[in-house]
Assembly symmetry: C2
Homo-oligomer: 460 residues x 2
């Protein structure tokens, strides 16, 4: 693993030294044993020397490295390629990688790529580009091994040996009929452990789990994960096999979707670039909309406070507990909403569980609220009243604050747990109902509860 | 896919109907084509009928279903097994699954399992159990295919055919010497695409990326994901091959670690059970410590407010903007900390990037702050002053609030972006430096800034 920063820095120094001394053969030997992902990582630091170093790599490794680069670096490289070089790299790419690259390039680069791709490859790229982003069709590859049900294991092995080199995976082979309808699948293990004269149709597994080209890519990835598959076949509406999604791409989708969820939960509009690659204005555009909306919706809490101005003037010490109350309310709500949002996205909770969730959160809220209230009562009496010698902190004031705590925690947990589930039911993204959104609602609720108790107990 | 709730409910009804009419052969035929994961999902709803239905399944499928059950259901089943039944299930399990089960069971059940396992299996289970939780050794399996460098491809295929049925995967085979030192690896594809008389040592890839038994399981999973491997070899300190981690287990680890991170970011102590399976008291124990700590640390904001009591009494309208200011500050900080925490866990940001991150957040904060302040100024003048006809909302008051907004957003972004990086540097978990923690700090800072500007501009 090249994880260690020192190792990486050392290597970079060596590379730059070799470049400056024009020791290209040595440089090539240094890069040869490295994994494509690590070379791509090094390229990020080499800037304008990248095209030169790239040309040192053997064709196959060059293509592997190319796939791992950021789209900006890929563009720079393509611009520097001669037509022959471009064609060489394109020939080595897997189809789904080629599609990914085409999707990220500006129109003129796309035209140049398509002009130099094989006619077959061009056709397939255009096919896949037709599928909307985020659906199974857009992440699948059409380079899989297909077998006929009438083949013997010997025939199948011959076919795998012949077509295998161009396929993304040979670990799972799919059995189709004349009309390309999906009949079953076979793992390479089953094939190897069978007799040479066994017939594919007899030994294949006919209970195939497949997805549709238009299914959401996250569902496809979750299915692969759930069933521990190495690939999932993708079919069209008539059950004709059109491609497969492999486990490595599914893992990437899961990671991306989690990042998106986390961003939404923090009131950020999701982007698709790494943190340091996102420009200042892009980051600003992703963050301002929710900040603005939440800021303006805080108008309500302001109005509540203005409304109860006289109560606060009568017992000024009440003001100093407002941040604690709204903070604790916000945190309680965040805990509940986060737990429920994650459970929803892992498929552990459905809409039909709403009542179970609410009942659970009620009980948790009660115990949490009472514990916090008790701790807070002791703290107010010992620290605020006695140690800080503030005579306005009376047991009655402490009672108001503590009763509010119990009520706020209860409201927060209920709102936090139920809003995400309701949002999902009506087709909204539950991740948006997270911390910032819940806190804003809970802020207003906690103030209303606070002044209610203040009126009852203190009579203000 | 059995994702759809209706489909599942229909199936459940059918199963319960067949049970009540004692049509066991039909029930067996109904379950046979289903995937183990789906049967396990159905079992959750069948309660006390589970042992009976479980006995209907053929041995191999039964073991697959058993692995997918929750540990509580597994325990109930084991208690209901005769010794022969227990032995049958154990014989069918893959080693790493057996270890997972043993890890979750109470001591008396573990004893019973180990007593009925094969002596070889018992020894291997005990080996793996020695590794600490969360390390590569604890998630690896010792059931891999090993080859010798001197074998021909023909020999290798024979060995794979002979030992394959008991191995977790045959897709990647590992080449070792007499002392079990790892020399290289071969994919089944390379083997199949080579000539029968090629020698393993000549065609193997000798640039093996491996992990150590004591490496963190998350690092191992990230490595598998980064290099798109189907399995990663695990070696001891002397580079002797002791096991492999397969991609399906790596995906599970990544999902678990993300859930843990998300929980920590919401101030919840991470647990390892699904939401609805966690008891009320367990949930309470996971949530109270941070709530309590954050509540008590809000003492500081209270003290600041008490200190400036007279300023608030002089210009009471200032109070009504406190929730908006602390809310916006909290949200700004959350955005920055969440973005940085995720970037850290994906390896996009390191400690050496601290200055770049801070510089980026400074600029983002400035633009965000100015936009928010401008919007807020307009809103205060139009809504609060004019529409709500509040004469105390003067341009001077609006200026105080807007200047505070700019200052608060800047502080929040800087604190939010830098604390997680600093936390990681000193060996803390950056995920803990998220929303709730940052909000508490930013609350206090925003009040200090607020009263500073109030003193300057309003002279209170």
């Amino acid at each position: 693993m090249l994880e260690q920063e020192e190792q990486r820095d050392e290597l970079l120094e060596k590379i730059e030294d070799l470049i400056s001394r024009k020791r290209y053969a040595e440089l090539r030997d240094l890069l040869l044993p490295l994994e494509a992902q690590d070379i791509a990582g090094l390229f990020m630091e080499l800037d304008d020397k990248v095209p030169m170093v790239f040309r040192l790599l053997p064709k196959e490794q060059a293509a592997e490295v190319f796939v791992e680069l950021d789209s900006e670096e890929q563009e720079v490289l393509i611009q520097s390629f001669s037509n022959t070089e471009l064609k060489e790299v394109l020939d080595e790419l897997y189809l789904d990688d080629a599609v990914d690259i085409v999707e990220e390039m500006p129109a003129n680069v796309v035209k140049r790529i398509l002009r130099h791709a094989d006619p077959d490859v061009r056709k397939s790229i255009n096919e896949i580009l037709k599928y909307p982003d985020d659906c199974a069709g857009s992440i699948m590859t059409t380079e899989y091994v297909d077998l006929k049900a009438t083949m013997t294991v010997e025939d199948a092995l011959k076919r795998i040996r012949r077509t295998g080199p161009d396929k993304e995976t040979i670990n799972i082979c799919y059995v189709i009929d004349e009309g390309r309808h999906l009949l079953g699948y076979l793992s390479i293990r089953t094939i190897l452990l069978s007799e040479e004269d066994d017939v594919v149709g007899d030994i294949m597994d006919t209970h195939v789990i497949s997805a549709n080209t238009l299914d959401d890519q996250e569902d496809v990835a979750q299915t692969l994960n759930k069933y521990d598959f190495l690939a999932l076949p993708i079919v069209d509406t008539e059950n004709r096999l059109v491609g497969i999604v492999t486990v490595d791409d599914a893992m990437d989708v899961l990671q991306e979707e989690v990042t998106e969820d986390i961003e939404k939960m923090a009131a950020i509009l999701p982007g698709d670039k790494p943190y340091l690659k996102t420009g200042v204005f892009e980051t600003w555009r992703a963050r301002t909309p929710w900040l603005m909306m939440l800021m303006l919706s805080a108008t309500f809490t302001g109005m509540i406070l203005t409304h109860f101005e006289n109560s606060l003037a009568a017992v000024p010490i009440l003001t100093s507990y407002i941040p604690m109350l709204s903070g604790t309310g916000g945190n309680s709500g965040t805990q509940a909403s986060t737990a429920v949002i994650r459970a929803l996205s892992l498929g552990e909770v459905r809409f039909s569980d709403l009542l179970r969730v609410v009942w659970k959160e009620c009980r948790v809220a009660l115990i949490c609220g009472v514990c916090l209230a008790a701790a807070n009562f002791v703290k107010m009496m010992v620290v605020d009243c006695w140690l800080l010698a503030n005579p306005t902190v009376t047991p009655a004031v402490a009672a108001v604050v503590c009763c509010t705590l119990v009520g706020t925690v209860a409201c927060a947990k209920l709102v936090g747990a139920s809003l995400p589930i309701l949002a999902e039911k009506i087709g909204f993204d539950p991740a948006v109902m997270a911390s910032p959104f819940i806190s804003t609602i809970v802020d207003a609720l906690s103030l209303l509860i606070y002044f209610r108790f203040a009126t009852w107990i203190l009579g203000v």
